[in-house]
C-alpha cells in the first residue's frame, strides 16, 4: 500500500511536470498567435515565409533576434518573394516597410545608416509609421549594408545597352 502510494506520488509528479510543460507550450502558442495577428504583421502572405523565433518571445531580457526567413526563398542572393537582397533583417524590412508602400521604393534608394534613419523619422512624423522598437536597429543595419551609397561620379557610363541592328 505504502509502496503503491510512493509510486502514485511519482506518477503524479510526472503528470504535474507534463502538465506544466503543456501549459508552457500552450503559452508559447498563444504568444506566437498574438504576435502573428499584431498590426505590424497582419499580412498573411508574409507569414507564409516568415517563421518567428520562439526564443525571442521567451527571453526575459528580450534581446532582439532577427526573424528567420525560409532559405528556399533565396535565389542568387535575393529573397524572391520580396525581391530584396537576402540578408539578416530582410524579413523586418518586408514586414514594416512593405506594410504601407511598395518595396520597390526601398530597393531603388541608396543611403547611409543616417540617411535611412532620417527617412524613418520622416515617415514616423508625417506618414503614420509606427515605432519600430527593437527592430529598428536591425532594419538600419540591413539597409545601410545592402542599400548603402555608391559613388557614381559626376556622370556614369551608359550601361545595360541592348544592341540591335537598326
Amino acid at each position: 500500500m505504502k509502496e503503491l502510494n510512493e509510486q502514485d506520488k511519482a506518477t503524479m509528479e510526472i503528470a504535474k511536470l507534463r502538465s506544466r510543460i503543456g501549459k508552457i507550450i500552450l503559452l508559447f502558442v498563444v504568444i506566437l498567435a498574438i504576435k502573428q495577428v499584431s498590426p505590424n504583421n497582419f499580412f498573411s502572405w508574409q507569414n507564409d515565409f516568415v517563421s518567428q523565433n520562439i526564443a525571442v518571445v521567451l527571453d526575459e531580457q528580450f534581446v532582439y533576434e532577427p526573424i528567420f526567413f525560409d532559405s528556399l526563398d533565396i535565389k542568387d542572393g535575393l529573397h524572391i518573394p520580396s525581391g530584396m537582397i537576402a540578408d539578416t533583417g530582410v524579413a523586418e524590412v518586408v514586414q514594416n516597410c512593405g506594410a504601407c508602400h511598395s518595396l520597390d521604393l526601398v530597393k531603388q534608394n541608396k543611403a547611409t545608416r543616417e540617411g535611412w534613419k532620417e527617412k524613418i523619422v520622416w515617415m514616423q512624423q508625417t506618414q503614420k509609421l509606427w515605432d519600430l522598437g527593437m527592430q529598428e536597429d536591425i532594419i538600419l543595419t540591413y539597409l545601410a549594408k545592402n542599400y548603402g551609397p555608391e559613388n557614381s561620379g559626376r556622370r556614369k557610363n551608359l550601361e545595360n545597352i541592348e544592341w540591335y541592328r537598326l
Binding site: 504601407c100 508602400h101 511598395s102 518595396l103 520597390d104 521604393l105 531603388q108 534608394n109 541608396k110 543611403a111 540617411g115 527617412k119 506618414q127 503614420k128 551609397p149 555608391e150 559613388n151 557614381s152 561620379g153 559626376r154 556622370r155 556614369k156 551608359l158 545597352i161 541592348e162 544592341w163 540591335y164 541592328r165 537598326l166
Partner: protein, 412 residues
Amino acid sequence: MSNKNSSRRKFITKSALAAFATMLGSKIVFGENMPEGVAPIGLEDIGSGDVVPGKSKELIVLGNQPWNAETPPHLLDDEITPADLFFVRNNGLPPEKFDLEKWTLTIDGESANQSKTFTLKELYTTFKHYTYNITIECAGNGRAEFNPSASGQQWQLGAVGCCKWTGVRLKDVLNAVGVKNDAVYIGYYGADLHLSKDPTKVVISRGVSIKKAMEDETLLAWGMNDTTIPIMNGYPLRLVCGGWPASVSGKWLTRISVRNKVHDGEKMLGQAYRMPKYPVQPGAIVPDEDFEIIESLPIKSLITYPKTGALVTKGNSLVVKGHAWAGDLSVSAVHVSIDFGVTWKLCELSDAVNRFAWQRFTSKIELPEKGYYEIWARATDSNGKSQPMVIPGWNPKGYLNNACHRIAVKQM
C-alpha cells in the same frame, strides 16, 4: 496591346461613355478609348502587380503601392504622348469609385469671394472649352543620376510626356466665383487616399501662384488625347498646369482653395518640391529655411529616335529625332554631338503648337568610322540657358536634373 480583355473593355468603355454622354451632353467624344485594364468602377486590384492598370506593359514600373511608372525615351517619339504610355506619378491610392453625377469641384478659400461648388456637367456646360498640347514633367525626373543618391522615386528619363488636354480655363472658373485682390496662391485637393488608409490624411495638396493659375493654358481638364483621362492620371478631373513640376497639376480634383498666402498644403512645406536657394556641395545637409519652391522647370530634351543601342551599317546616315521643352519659356535651339561634346551640330527645330507643347528636333548625322559613339542632345531656352553635359547642381531631394540625354550607337 493585347486584346485579352477586349470584351470587358468594350463593356466598360460603353458604360463610361454613356455616363459621360448623359452627364455632359451629346457633343462629347471622349470616353470611347478607355484603355485596356481600366475599370472605372473599382474592378481592379490597384495595389499589386507589375503592369500599371490602364497602362502599357512597356512602362518601367518603379513601384506599385503607390503606382509609379515611367516611359522609356524611345516610346516618347509621338508628337502627342499616347495615354497608355504617359507616365504615372502617384503619391497615394487613386479613388476606386467614380460617380460622375456626384463628382464636384468646390472653389473656396480666404481669397475667394464665395464658396461655390460645380458639378462636372456645370463645368462642361458653363465655360468655354480649350484644348492644348501641354508637356508635364515630374520635378524629380532624372533623380536616379544624382550622386550621392537623393531619396525618393528613382526616376531615370521618362517621367515626362506631352498630351493633348481638354477642359476649361481655371481663370474662367475663378473669375466666375470671384477672386479678392489679396489672392496669392491656389491650392488643390484631390480624392486620392493616403497610403496609411487614413481617410483624414491629405495625400498631396500643392498649387501655384495666382498669376500662374490665371494663365490661359492652366486648365481644369477632363479630356486627354480626345478621350477621358486614364484613372492613374487623374480621371475624371485634374488640373493641368504646364512648365512647373507635375505635382502642381492635381489629380482626381475635388477642391481648389484661393489662398491669401503661399499655400501650405501637404508637400508644399519643408523640402518637398523645393531647391536650396544657393548652390550646395554634394551631400550637404541644408536647413529647411534655405529652400525655395520650384516654379518653372529648366530647359530639357530627350532623344526619342533611335532607341539607344542601335547598330548602324557603314555608309548609312542616321536620322536623330526628339523633343525639347523649357518650363515657362520656349526652346530656341537644340544641338547634337557624336563626339562627347567636342563639336555640336545645330538641329532643325519646330515651333511649339501652343505654349508648353514640346518642340520637335531632328538632325541627320554621319558616323565617320567604325566604333562606339554616344549621341548627346543639348537644348537651349529662349533666355540662352542650355542643358549641362554632366549632372547639374546636387540637391538633397534630387530635383531638376536636366543633364543632356545620351544614347549609345555603334557603327559596324
